[in-house]
């Protein structure tokens, strides 16, 4: 009986830990966000540059 209670307690604790990691505090993604924006800016500028070059030569 005691062993059963212990198992339930441990399971509850583990579930709380998982919940806490997923929803408790958000990960800091500021660096990732800036990296994504830099790659996005590179793609956008390359695309616009090639498009304008094509239109200029048409």
């Amino acid at each position: 009986m005691v062993a059963q209670q212990d198992r339930e307690q441990t399971l509850k604790q583990q579930t709380n830990d998982i919940d806490h990691n997923q929803h408790g505090k958000e990960d800091k993604l500021n660096g990732t966000f800036i990296s994504v924006l830099l790659i996005g800016a590179f793609i956008a500028l390359s695309w616009i540059g090639i498009f304008l070059l094509f239109m200029d030569r048409a």
Binding site: E26, D27, F33, L37, G40, I43, F51, F54, M55
Partner: protein, 158 residues
């Protein structure tokens, strides 16, 4: 599903960029008629009988309107027929070209003139030469040992 706030922002930006790119290309193509400069006419001919098939039995440039020309050309190892084309400034030239042997290229560096020349196909490209001068027309598809010598000139007279 939980999505991070910053992740939502970059997903939105990425999706927006995709739609802007597609809209620019789509509107350009369907509303403004911007197509890739070279394309196949869908005409098939026997590549072994190019010199017997009109109009390529007589490769030439002919005037069809006010400063508008049709150029019927044949690419071969290692040159173009007719050689050294002369046109007046402002001329609009419709190039029709096929190959008598292997795949060749047809490009004028610094312009949008760039297409493949495929045996058995007639490829078409229209270009207006607004500036006087000499344009080098080169093969940009490796076609054999003399590939780098394969060129001709388009002379635009002012």
């Amino acid at each position: 599903m939980h999505i991070h706030r910053l992740e939502k922002i970059w997903l939105a930006i990425g999706t927006l960029m995709l739609f802007v790119f597609l809209a620019a290309v789509g509107i350009g193509a369907f509303a403004m008629g911007n197509h890739p400069p070279g394309h196949s006419e869908g005409i098939k001919l026997d590549p072994e009988k190019v010199y017997e098939t009109p109009p390529f039995d007589d490769p030439r440039i002919e005037q069809i309107g006010d400063n508008e020309y049709n150029a019927y050309m044949v690419a071969y190892v290692y040159g173009y027929s007719p050689h050294n084309i002369e046109i007046p400034v402002g001329a609009t030239v419709h190039f029709y070209i096929t190959s008598a042997d292997v795949v060749h290229g047809f490009a004028i560096p610094g312009t949008n003139v760039n297409m493949m020349v495929v045996p058995g196909e007639v490829n078409e490209l229209t270009y207006t030469f607004d500036e006087p001068g000499e344009h080098l027309l080169i093969c940009n598809e490796y076609c054999g040992i003399g590939h780098e010598y394969m060129s001709t000139k388009i002379i635009v007279k002012g």
